[in-house]
Structure formats: structure tokens, C-alpha cells
């Protein structure tokens, strides 16, 4: 069997007496989209913080690309290939779309202490940035100020920025949040194209999108993974239906 890109081993996180993440273990394999679903307050955001390095774990290991990254900062994990999108869109609104992505390329190239060459006319940066915009179908908007994009376009731009870092894994924190039906359809399309090259850990509320994209699903309830399996298995799992899906279908 191939080595997983990301492996969480018995992760725990407590805030004082509050035990938010409880013994979470899961793996993302190459070429796969692993979705984590769960009701509000299940601890998904905390778990993402632990994976990307913003929150130190109380115990357990995050193994990324075969290496234990527990002690590494957010920036260091990102440089090793952990690309991410945010629940609340984080783009650089005053920069152009192209500049947003070019900064991602620049970060990956690792030579940002360059003081004199104008960055805006740097062909290496721009060519790679244009390529990433092409991948997500946003090249027509390269010159637009990022803050002026529609909400859906901003979400796609986040993906392009993440791709600029040539990620080994995409950590997607509710990429569909706040997107309309058309925008969601487009995002699903973009993501299913990307999935072939880049494995993903997808945290998402939109069940349709999850069922379309995910190869495996883990269900997080009160900080614990109560079930993990293929889309069919999760759909048929009575415990999951009760804890999560059931309430939605009952509406």
C-alpha cells in the first residue's frame, strides 16, 4: 500500500476542561479526497487548526508526507506542501488577482528577500501564476482587483493561491461556505479536476458536494470520529444517520 500523504495519529486537544478533539486518527492517501463532516460544534475548525499548525495539539501526532510535523509553524508546514483554503475567505483584497497568486509562487520559490527587481514584471512569477489561474479557470480575471471579485470567484482564487505553492495536500475548510448554487457547482467541478493531481482533506457542510467529491468520509461528532468509510457506507450507517444526516433528512 502507498504511504498516506497525511496521517493523524490519536490527536487530542483540550482547552482547560473542555476536551475538543478526542483521539482522532485518520489518513489521506494519494489521489483521494477525504471528507470530514460533522454537525456544528463537532470540533472541525479545531482539528484544522491542529493540522495546519495554528493550534498545538495536547497529544498525538500529525504526520505529513512521511514526516512528523508537530513542532513546525504554520508557515513551515505550508512550505512543505500543505496548501489550504479558509472558512472565511482570506485573500489580499488590494492586490490584483494575478498578484495574489504570484505571491504564492514567490513564497514557494523561497526568495522573498529580493529588494530591487520589480516583482510585478517578474516573468517567472507571472507565468507560473497565470498557469495556476488557468487550472481553476480564472485567467480572464487576472487583472482585476481581488477585492472586487464575486464571492464565488474569491473562493476559486483561494484555490489558485494554494495551488501556486505546488501543494502535496489541499486542506479545504468549507470551500463552499457562502457560495450560491451556481458557484458551488463550479467549485465542485474545479475541485474534481484538481483531485486527480492533489489529494484533499475536505471539511464541508454541503452534503451534495461532499458526496460528489469524496472518496472516503469520516464523521466527526463531539470531537470523536464515530464512523469512517466510503460514501455508500456512510450513507447507510445508522449511527451517522442518527447523529447527523438523519436530522437533515428529517427537515
Amino acid at each position: 500500500m502507498t504511504r498516506p500523504v497525511l496521517e493523524l495519529k490519536e490527536l487530542n486537544k483540550s482547552f482547560g476542561a473542555l476536551h475538543v478533539t478526542k483521539n482522532v486518527s485518520l489518513a489521506v492517501n494519494p489521489g483521494e479526497c477525504h471528507a470530514v463532516i460533522g454537525p456544528n460544534g463537532a470540533g472541525k475548525t479545531t482539528l484544522i487548526g491542529q493540522i495546519c499548525g495554528a493550534l498545538p495539539s495536547s497529544s498525538g501526532d500529525v504526520v505529513f508526507d512521511g514526516e512528523n510535523v508537530n513542532g513546525l509553524s504554520v508557515a513551515n508546514r505550508a512550505l512543505r506542501g500543505l496548501g489550504r483554503s479558509f472558512q472565511i475567505t482570506a485573500i489580499l483584497p488590494a492586490f490584483s488577482v494575478l498578484e495574489n497568486v504570484a505571491l504564492g509562487v514567490q513564497a514557494k520559490a523561497g526568495h522573498s528577500y529580493r529588494f530591487f527587481k520589480p516583482a510585478a514584471r517578474d516573468r517567472d512569477l507571472n507565468a507560473k501564476a497565470e498557469h495556476c489561474l488557468d487550472l481553476v479557470g480564472l485567467s480572464g480575471r487576472a487583472g482585476v482587483r481581488a477585492g472586487d471579485l464575486s464571492h464565488g470567484e474569491k473562493r476559486v482564487l483561494e484555490l489558485a493561491i494554494a495551488l501556486a505553492g505546488e501543494p502535496k495536500l489541499l486542506l479545504l475548510d468549507e470551500p463552499m461556505a457562502g457560495a450560491g448554487p451556481d458557484e458551488t457547482a463550479r467549485l465542485v467541478e474545479v475541485l474534481s479536476d484538481l483531485k486527480r493531481q492533489t489529494p484533499m482533506l475536505l471539511v464541508e457542510h454541503d452534503m451534495d458536494a461532499v458526496f460528489k467529491l469524496a472518496d472516503r468520509i469520516s464523521v466527526l461528532v463531539y470531537g470523536e470520529i464515530i464512523a469512517s468509510g466510503s460514501v455508500e457506507e456512510i450513507r447507510g450507517n445508522p449511527a451517522v444517520r442518527e447523529a447527523y444526516l438523519g436530522t437533515e433528512e428529517g427537515v
Binding site: 489580499l92 513564497a107 529580493r114 530591487f116 493561491i161
Partner: protein
């Protein structure tokens, strides 16, 4: 076509600005206006300091409330060396830069661990530390300051002694600092700085920790303000703790905001406007701040982009 027009527009203001500044000595010579020469020199010196503040405040959103400390340190470096009979500019100016770079590196490494209001408070605290240290330097005049009895020497020439030549020197340094910072702002380094201002989380997520970049910018800005201080000591032939009081730091922030944040030449316009206002209004009343204060509030409320914002708004 649009691109060319864009460039013309973005370059027009600085080109006109520096042309006018270069013509000031001609005007002063024709009308034999010595006061204008001295006054304009003082403006340009403070414009250098305001320019350096805009680099960290406007581009990097680092609201330093202790920037005047660098002016004072640069001035004291020159003053103390002169007190020990070392007048050569090639020693005193590098010394001023070095002292300021060192002070910026140490205080910046500590202050930049904080953000927002805490950064303002901690830079203010460091500034006041420098101020009180200077007032207690009894060997160098303490509270009363230090009179220099002369100006720095530049390779045996009287460059610093002649008012017009000194003005031209200050203008050349201002222009060099402006071009230097403009180039930095457009570089990869500048892009990181401007990006970190917009979303720190995004920069972390693509693998850039902004701390080192901010610190580098802080050291660069501090060093340039140190040059301004070294020039100020020469212009006044006097060094005083008042150069680094928090009032002066506040004035620098006002200049930058008044001119328009983040464009660099905005800071120069702001310095000119502030000091001309002060000069003109103080002729009428010593309580000129009573008039200036409300004016500033109006600028912040209704002309967000400052003077530059007003110019740009008209031309487009």
C-alpha cells in the same frame, strides 16, 4: 494606451514635486530670501523622516509611535562625535545610521511580536526610553541639549556650511531615499510587506512568516530616519532631547496621514503642508493647534486619502 496614461498619472505628482523643490534655491537666490532657504531645508529634513515612517506605516501597517527616537539618535550621534571634535561626515553619518539600525533591530525584534494598539504602545515606550536617556546625559547637556558650534565637514569642502549647498544635499538625500524606498516597495520584499498588511493568515498559509520582513523594513526605516536626524543636528547646530519626544513622533504620523498613506511622496507633501501650516498659523496665534486640530479631523473624515487622495480624485 491606458497603461501609459496610468504611469504618467502615477509619476506626475512626484516629478512635479521634486521639480518644484529643486527650484526653491533659485527663487530664494532671486529674492535673496535666506529665511526661505533655512525653512525649506528643515521641511525636507523632516520629510525624509516622514517618508521613512510611511514605508513602515503606510505599506506595512506598523503604526510606530516612537519614530522620532531615530531622529534623536541620529542627531545625538553627530552631536556627540562633534563634542569630541570629530567633524568628518563620513564618520558621523555612518555612525548615525549604525546606531539607528541597531536600536531598530533590538526594539523592532521586541515590538514586532505585538500588533495593533500594543505595537503603538511599545514603540511609544521605547521612544520615551530614548528620550529620558537623552535628558539624563548630563555630560552632553542633558535637558538643555548640546550646542555644536559648527557643522560636519565633507572631505574638506564647505558643503554643510553653505545654506544653498546644504539644501541641495538634503534634497538629493530625500530623492535618493524616495527612489530607494519606491524600488523596495515594488520588489518581492515589498510585495510581502504589503501582503502582510492585508492578511497575515494568508501569508502564513502560503508559507511566509512576515516577522522577518517587517523587522527588515523597520530597520531600513529607522536608519533613514537616523540620516534625517544627522542632517537636523547640522541644520540647527544643536541637539536636543526634544527631537525624540513623543510629540515629534505624533507629528510625523500626522504628516504621513495628512499627505496620504502608502505612496511615499504623500509623506513628503504631508511634511510640507504640516510645517507650512504651522509656520503660517503660528504668525496669527500661538494657539495654532486649535485651528490645525479641527482641520486634521476634517481631512481624516472627508479626505481619507489625504492630500494625494484629493489630487487623484480630481485628475480621474
Amino acid at each position: 494606451m491606458n497603461g501609459i496614461r496610468e504611469i504618467m498619472r502615477s509619476r506626475a505628482v512626484p516629478v512635479i514635486l521634486f521639480t518644484v523643490l529643486a527650484l526653491v534655491p533659485v527663487y530664494a537666490a532671486v529674492f535673496d530670501d535666506r529665511f526661505l532657504m533655512l525653512f525649506a531645508t528643515r521641511i525636507l529634513i523632516l520629510a525624509i523622516a516622514a517618508l521613512s515612517l510611511d514605508f513602515i506605516l503606510g505599506l506595512g501597517a506598523m503604526v510606530s509611535f516612537g519614530h522620532a527616537a531615530f531622529i534623536g539618535l541620529g542627531a545625538y550621534a553627530v552631536g556627540i562625535l562633534a563634542y569630541h571634535d570629530i567633524w568628518a561626515a563620513w564618520i558621523s553619518f555612518p555612525a548615525a545610521i549604525l546606531v539607528c539600525a541597531l536600536f531598530a533591530a533590538i526594539t523592532g525584534a521586541i515590538s514586532l511580536k505585538t500588533r495593533g494598539v500594543y505595537f503603538i504602545m511599545i514603540t511609544l515606550a521605547f521612544g520615551q526610553m530614548a528620550y529620558y536617556t537623552a535628558t539624563s546625559l548630563s555630560a552632553y547637556g542633558g535637558d538643555d541639549g548640546l550646542t555644536m558650534w559648527g557643522r560636519s565637514e565633507f572631505l574638506g569642502t564647505g558643503l554643510f556650511e553653505n545654506d544653498t549647498a546644504f539644501y541641495c544635499l538634503v534634497l538629493a538625500i530625500l530623492l535618493a531615499a524616495y527612489v530607494f524606498l519606491k524600488v523596495l516597495a515594488a520588489s518581492r520584499f515589498g510585495r510581502v510587506l504589503k501582503g502582510a498588511k492585508q492578511s497575515e493568515a494568508r501569508l502564513q498559509a502560503i508559507g511566509i512568516d512576515p516577522f522577518g520582513y517587517r523587522l527588515a523594513a523597520y530597520v531600513i526605516a529607522g536608519s533613514i530616519a537616523g540620516i534625517a536626524g544627522a542632517l537636523l543636528a547640522n541644520q540647527a547646530e544643536f541637539v536636543s532631547p526634544a527631537y525624540m519626544s513623543w510629540h515629534r513622533s505624533g507629528e510625523l504620523i500626522v504628516m504621513v496621514v495628512l499627505g496620504g498613506l502608502g505612496y511615499l511622496h504623500g509623506a513628503i507633501l504631508g511634511a510640507i503642508a504640516y510645517l507650512v501650516f504651522e509656520e503660517v498659523l503660528s504668525h496669527y496665534t500661538q494657539h495654532w493647534r486649535l485651528i490645525f486640530g479641527p482641520l486634521l479631523i476634517l481631512v481624516v473624515l472627508y479626505a481619507r486619502g489625504g492630500i494625494l487622495g484629493a489630487i487623484k480624485g480630481k485628475s480621474s
